[in-house]
């Protein structure tokens, strides 16, 4: 699941899909946190998941806002065309 997220981030052109792939990676990490937590009988892992979910929610709000702002300026969300941050 994590690898699927990574590949999505690296290959897809659409910024929203890239964004969803990032969520996929986060959730993959969450899943492994929960799994290991239950496997090792340690509650700290579950605690971490809550943190990750909170941060992910905030991050997705900010990320979507950036994508909207981008679209307003460039009329595209194809990340190959968003390359103004170069020499």
């Amino acid at each position: 699941m994590f690898i699927a997220g990574v590949v999505g981030v690296l290959t897809r052109k659409n910024a929203i899909i890239v964004f969803m792939s990032i969520e996929l990676m986060l959730n993959a990490a969450n899943l492994s946190f929960v799994t290991f937590s239950s496997f090792l009988g340690n509650n700290i892992g579950q605690l971490f998941v809550f943190f990750v979910m909170t941060v992910a929610a905030a991050e997705s709000a900010v990320g979507l806002a950036i994508i909207i702002a981008l679209f307003r300026n460039k009329l595209t969300i194809n990340i190959d065309e968003i390359n103004i941050l170069k020499w």
Binding site: V9, L10, N83
Partner: protein, 646 residues
């Protein structure tokens, strides 16, 4: 009062700060002058009472150390601000504060009306502060502080009239010359200090000398130490080959010439050699070097003095010559005789300079003796005091110069040999001759100045009273050191007073054959008669029969020109040292090292970064996914590395 000796250092410093910081606001010359002089006067009283207190003690208890605070503490190097009160430093301190006070008072009159009156007194006080540090120091570092301090003040005061012309250049050039030449000597002194620390692991005087007395150190090391210290002394005390700065130092105001360049600072080298007598005594070869250099300097400078026409120049070469005598005394192991001469010389040479200052003052800054003449009537006090000083320096009994000079000559004969004595006597005759040439051309004969424009006048009381004080000292100063053959069973008082300081050094020196009293009296008579004869000659030539002088100089034109141009030493140094340095600086240091090497390095660094960054910036594609790929690869690589290294 011995424990309050530090006040003699603090008071001049306070005077310097008050005059230096607020002098320009005070405006009133009297106030400024008496703040400056008072600081020195009180210091003198303190030294005087400390002297009498010490005199009352038995000889073994006469050394005190007044420790103030710890200054430097680095590893095994411990340096404290501590002042050593003993026979030698007290003698020097008496000279410095006593003559210094008189000259300060004189300066109030001499500098009257100068636009930087306050600056002058601030510098003078700073000088006394540094000088007191130099002579009271109980370790080499503090001595070096004073040593550099007096050099600085000398520089400041030579260039005091920085807007005036001096000979072919300006006074600030003369000041720079003095400073640079002194630096060469200081460098030698520093090397000597390092070597002392390396050898004895301390820089405290008493410890160094105690260890030098107890430890076994090879003569080679002693020779190097003594040689380096002596190089320092040649710089400060204007000996061959570093004497060239002193004649130029006459660019400063005359009281400065009297105080710094005749009475006190230039004797610092002599003092230092006397202080380190045990180190010098352990290096016989260097002792000979000291004696020979001293002797040559004495003769060399005296011959130049014969033909100079600037009143202060004559006195300057005379100072160099007399300093040569002092080093001759040091070199033949007559340390106390050398210090004795330092003292009497301080009296009569300060008097000569102040007298010259009085003449220059009265003649509206004219310094050429060919434009003087017949000033006896207009300046009776100056004339009388000048005459006393001239007799004293010529070595006519019973004035002070006779006792000190003759003791040096006698010891040179007894300890070193006939030739030392002979050259010394020749120098003494030359000294008598040029002093009376100066005296006759200035005060006797017919006036040669333009009487319509120049109206010579006697100087104010503030200047003549110091002259009289010094004249009295020049007359009686010698009696504290009457040679043994005249003084009877008490022996030489001055010698006895200083003896404990040099006792260890005297043991190191090999003993010389005994000489009879008859020899001593004979030699003494020869030098006195010689001096009297050359005084008579000078009088004859320059008063009655001027043509002799002209004929002689015409006959020996080559020699005359050689002397007038001071053996072309300045020119030779210019060709041999100064010009090459300029050339090297310009063609190598500037055009190659600076322009090519340093600028090249700086610009090269910039252009390398420019080129590299031109390539590197292509990596910034601006496409976020490229970065993500690189980041991914990095993380994967890091993971692999962590897993494999586990």
């Amino acid at each position: 009062m011995t424990q309050y000796i530090y006040l003699t250092v603090v008071l001049p410093l306070a005077g310097f700060l008050i005059n230096g910081l607020f002098g320009s606001k005070i405006k009133n010359e009297k106030v400024i002058g008496w703040i400056g002089s008072g600081a020195i006067g009180i210091s003198f009283l303190i030294v005087l009472s400390a002297f009498f207190q010490t005199l009352g003690l038995p000889a073994e208890e006469r050394q005190h150390i007044v420790s103030l605070f710890n200054w430097l503490s680095v590893g095994s190097l411990q340096v404290s601000i501590a002042y050593q009160v003993d026979q030698l430093s007290l003698t020097m301190a008496l000279i410095v504060t006593g003559v210094g006070f008189v000259i300060h008072v004189y300066s109030i009159g001499y500098m009257h009306g100068d636009k930087s009156f306050w600056r002058f007194f601030a510098y003078l006080n700073l000088f006394i502060f540094a000088m007191m540090n130099l002579i009271l120091a109980d370790n080499f570092v503090l001595l070096f502080l004073g040593w550099e301090g007096v050099g600085l003040c000398s520089y400041l005061l030579i260039g005091f009239w920085y807007d005036r012309k001096f000979e072919k250049s300006t006074t600030s050039d003369a000041a720079k010359k003095a400073f640079v030449v002194n630096r060469i000597g200081d460098f030698g002194f520093l090397l000597g200090m390092f070597l002392i620390f390396l050898t004895f692991n301390t820089l405290n005087f008493n410890e160094v000398f105690a260890r030098a007395n107890a430890m076994h150190v090879s003569t080679t090391i002693y020779s190097f130490i003594a040689l380096f210290l002596f190089i320092g002394a040649t710089g400060k005390s204007a000996q061959i080959p570093l004497f060239v700065w002193l004649p130029d130092a006459m660019a400063g105001p005359t009281p400065v010439s009297a105080l710094i360049h005749a009475a006190t600072m230039v004797t610092a080298g002599v003092y230092m050699v006397a202080r380190c007598s045990i180190l010098f005594a352990s290096a016989p070869a260097i002792m000979t070097v000291v004696a020979v250099i001293g002797l040559l300097t004495a003769l060399f400078a005296a011959t130049i003095g014969l033909v100079q026409n600037d009143i202060k120049k004559v006195l300057a070469y005379s100072t160099v010559s007399q300093l040569g005598y002092m080093f001759l005394a040091m070199g033949v192991g007559a340390f106390s005789a050398g210090i004795f001469h330092v003292m009497t010389h301080a009296f009569f040479k300060a008097l000569l300079f102040l007298g010259a200052g009085s003449v220059i003052h009265g003649m509206h800054d004219q310094q050429d003796i060919q434009k003087y003449g017949g000033l006896k009537k207009e300046m009776p006090t100056t004339y009388k005091t000048f005459l006393i000083a001239a007799i004293a320096i010529s070595g006519i009994p019973p004035l002070s110069g006779f006792f000190s000079k003759d003791e040096i000559l006698w010891r040179a004969y007894a300890n070193a040999g006939f030739i030392y004595w002979f050259i010394g006597v020749v120098t003494a005759l030359l000294t008598a001759f040029y002093m009376f040439r100066l005296l006759n051309l200035t005060f006797e004969g017919k006036p040669r100045y333009d009487a319509h424009h120049v109206h010579p006048h006697e100087s104010p009381k503030l200047m003549t009273v110091p002259l009289m004080i010094l004249a009295v000292l020049s007359i009686v100063g010698g009696f504290i050191g009457i040679p043994e053959i005249f003084a009877g069973e008490h022996g030489n008082n001055f010698h006895g007073w200083l003896e404990p300081i040099f006792a260890n050094a005297q043991i190191r020196l090999s003993h010389f054959g005994s000489h009879t009293h008859f020899e001593e009296i004979l030699l003494m008579a020869i030098s006195v008669i010689g001096a009297a004869a050359s005084i008579y000659f000078a009088r004859h030539i320059y008063l009655k029969n001027q043509s002799i002088a002209e004929n002689t100089s015409a006959k020996f034109k080559g020699i005359y020109r050689l002397l007038l141009n001071k053996y072309f030493v300045d020119e030779a140094y210019d060709k041999a040292v100064v010009q090459p340095i300029f050339k090297v600086s310009e063609s190598f240091l500037w055009k190659i090292t600076d322009v090519k090497l340093i600028d090249g390095l700086v610009n090269g660094t910039a252009s390398v970064i420019d080129v590299v960054s031109g390539k590197v910036r292509k990596l910034q594609t601006g496409v976020a996914q490229t970065y993500a790929v690189v980041m991914m690869l990095g993380i994967v690589a890091a993971l692999f590395w962590i897993i494999y290294s586990l």
